[in-house]
Amino acid sequence: MAVEATNVRRRNNITERGNPAGRVLLLAHGFGCSQETWRLVVPLLEADYRILLFDHVGSGSSDISAYDRGKYDSLHGYADDVVEILESLDLTDVVFVGHSVSAMIGVLAANRESSRIGALVLLGPSPRYVDTDDYVGGFGKPDIDNLLDSLDANYLGWSTTMAPMIIGNADRPELGDELTDMFCATNPTIARHFAHVTFLSDNRADLAAVRVPTLVLQAKDDIIAPIEVGEYVHAHVLGSAYQVIDAYGHCAQLSEPAEVASAIRAFVP
């Protein structure tokens, strides 16, 4: 399928940083975030790598009108977009760095287009969040409903307070930094759907199909993707490297950006 480069650029709000001669790093954000999540990591890598950032459709400054509920009802729809991004820019041997749910999106994309994705860095990956009889993902089904309640409670005033931020706030400078606004500006209907897709997907079977060099980056203490889950991913991705970084919480790229950056450097010098 031919992909119109400018359409993809606009759809996924692709931005580029760093050294044009360097190896390409495609940084992908997780649920609840936007490409802003890489803000602290990018300066540490931009001297040596060509860095591409993007927003998943429905997040950040992506083109919300491209949000097709059927397409984005599974991670395959997001993986299609990643492949399209690489095709539209005609990139090969890219290092895909995926945080959280984007780690699995990267696995799906690499399994489809291993010529374009040369390596995977999976930061806080979890192939399945909900426990089964013989698998510990860390959460039960009721927890997911609970998450949706939390989400709704936090977006209770969304339509009135968030809408002005989405349509631009030139005349309301008090709303602050524009990038941060976009980070906050999440359509609750889409956020709810993305939460469903993120936390109710099961991609365990896709791990064994990975054929590109892979680094599993696991935070020491992460309740969303606990250490056992990181070990599971490492064990099921053939020949993967595994590194535990000294970070607390699910967003090591924000809490320990230097650790994350140096792990990426060591893996893809």
Binding site: R69, L148, S150, N154, L200
Partner: protein, 468 residues
């Protein structure tokens, strides 16, 4: 009421403030907490300080904190009025609103996070009700929108195919499916894909999936909720097609024709009762649209065919004659128009009544159909006047058809006594349309009519041919 000691007024304000205060290290560990929050959560300071803050939240709130609130806090330096839910030791939940700020050192390095926590138990139930009401309103709005969209799409569809494609598209949108296929059961029992996209058929064309038979046998909505629920053949195709689950909705129209609406999903899904119901409503709309189209087609049939004999009527004959002239002109072939008037028909009507007359007309029509060539069109102009259009003929073959007509019409009619014989007077106009002279259909009819009169005047039961 706590007594205030003059030595530590600010400490006292802090400890017993009307809101909870918690300081958290950048590692997420609680380093300080005031008495208010300890009281609210029913915890002792020694078990509270040193605990990971996030573990105090109930699991769902924990997930939202880690994926959304914490990153926002780190990026923005603060968050305001975010909703969290603490879990008390007994399992009871304390809903709160939190303002949090990242504290930085003089050098601008973040040092810790400070949170002010407000108990919102009172307004919580009200908010819950609000959320429930909003969800219900959104759901019904979505349902109405889906039904409106499909009504509009079906009304705009020009033919059956467009209705079926619109059905697939609208069901897909309504249940957020990766793909939707529409299948129809043929007379042979085979299932044909008549619209939409069928990812399993793309990887294994022509396969009859066992789930379809199960759904058709029960005529009930069927869900294959995961690859492990499917039989091995289906499971293999699902893996290849990246289908993790699918649902099958069997339907049947008034004619008894059965169909399947199959929705494919890229993850394990179970549809709610409301979603299945919506799918069924959209499908029923489509079936109604198809039924309306069928009725319209029947009406068109009625408008083009003679009610008594089932032959083409004057309107259709006119249309077909014009088309035939054009195609003979294009192909350089000859065209024959035969005008047939019955002999002795008036006597039958006068002596035996109109019912007997109608019987003769129906029988003549059947005999005409039997003796014309496969591609010829026989029609009835009215009364006892018939017409046959023969494309791609020469004089001999036109005369051969005409003589078969004479013979067929002349043969006895079982319900009519031999004293009332019926025969045919036939006039033929044979033309080779050319760029110089393209006859109109009216001209041809007039000439064929005139030739028929010559047969009539020449003694009936005969053929007159005119070459133009």
């Amino acid at each position: 009421m706590t007594m205030m000691t003059p030595e530590a007024p600010f400490e006292e304000l802090y400890q017993n403030a009307p809101c909870g205060y918690v300081s958290v290290s950048l590692d997420g560990v609680i380093v300080r907490a005031n008495l208010t929050i300890l009281r609210w959560l029913n915890r002792a300071e020694r078990e509270f300080v040193g605990t990971r803050f996030v573990t105090l939240l109930e699991p769902g709130a924990r997930m939202f904190y880690e994926t959304r609130q914490q990153p926002m806090l780190l990026l923005q330096g603060e968050v305001r009025e975010v909703s969290m839910r603490f879990q008390r030791p007994g399992g009871e939940v304390l809903p709160v609103l939190v303002n949090a700020t990242v504290v930085t050192s003089e050098a601008g390095e973040p040092t810790e996070v400070r949170m002010a926590i407000f108990d919102v138990t009172e307004r919580h139930q009200y908010e819950r009700d609000l959320i429930e009401a909003r969800r219900a309103a959104e759901m019904s709005a979505e349902r109405v929108r889906a039904l409106q969209d499909s009504t509009t799409a079906f009304a705009a569809a020009a033919d059956e195919n467009e209705v079926i494609e619109a059905l697939a598209a609208n069901v897909r949108a309504a249940v957020a499916a990766t793909a939707v296929a529409v299948l129809r059961e043929q007379d042979t029992g085979a299932l044909e894909i008549v619209g939409g996209v069928h990812p399993l058929d793309d990887v294994a064309p022509g396969t009859r999936w066992s789930a379809y038979d199960t759904a058709l046998a029960a005529m009930e909505h069927l869900s294959i909720g995961s690859i492990t629920e499917a039989d091995p053949e289906t499971a293999a195709a699902m893996r290849m097609a990246r289908v993790e689950s699918f649902t099958v909705l069997p339907v049947q129209n008034e004619q008894g024709v059965r169909g399947l609406i199959v929705s494919f999903f890229g993850r394990e899904r179970e549809l709610s009762e409301a979603a299945v119901d919506l799918k069924l409503s959209i499908t029923k709309q489509a079936m109604q649209a198809l039924k309306t189209m069928r009725l319209q087609r029947q009406l068109e049939q009625l408008a083009l065919y003679d009610e008594l004999t089932g032959l083409a009527n004057r309107k259709l004959l006119d249309e077909q004659l014009t088309t035939a002239i054009a195609s003979c002109l294009r192909d350089g072939t000859a065209l024959a128009l035969m005008f047939i008037d019955l002999d002795g028909f008036k006597a039958v009507n006068d002596n035996l009544g109109h019912r007997a007359g109608d019987t003769v007309l129906r029988e003549v029509a059947a005999r005409l159909r039997g003796v014309v060539r496969h591609n010829d069109l026989a029609g009835r102009l009215g009364g006892d006047e018939f017409v046959v259009i023969c494309e791609n003929v020469d004089e001999d073959s036109a005369l051969a058809v005409a003589s078969r007509i004479l013979e067929a019409v002349r043969a006895p009619y079982p319900e009519i006594p031999g004293s009332l014989p019926v025969s045919a007077s036939v006039g033929i106009v044979l033309t080779l349309p050319s760029a110089h002279s393209v006859p109109t259909s009216d001209e041809l009819l007039t000439r064929a009519d005139a030739a028929m009169y010559r047969s009539k005047n020449g003694g009936r039961d005969r053929v007159t041919i005119e070459l133009v």
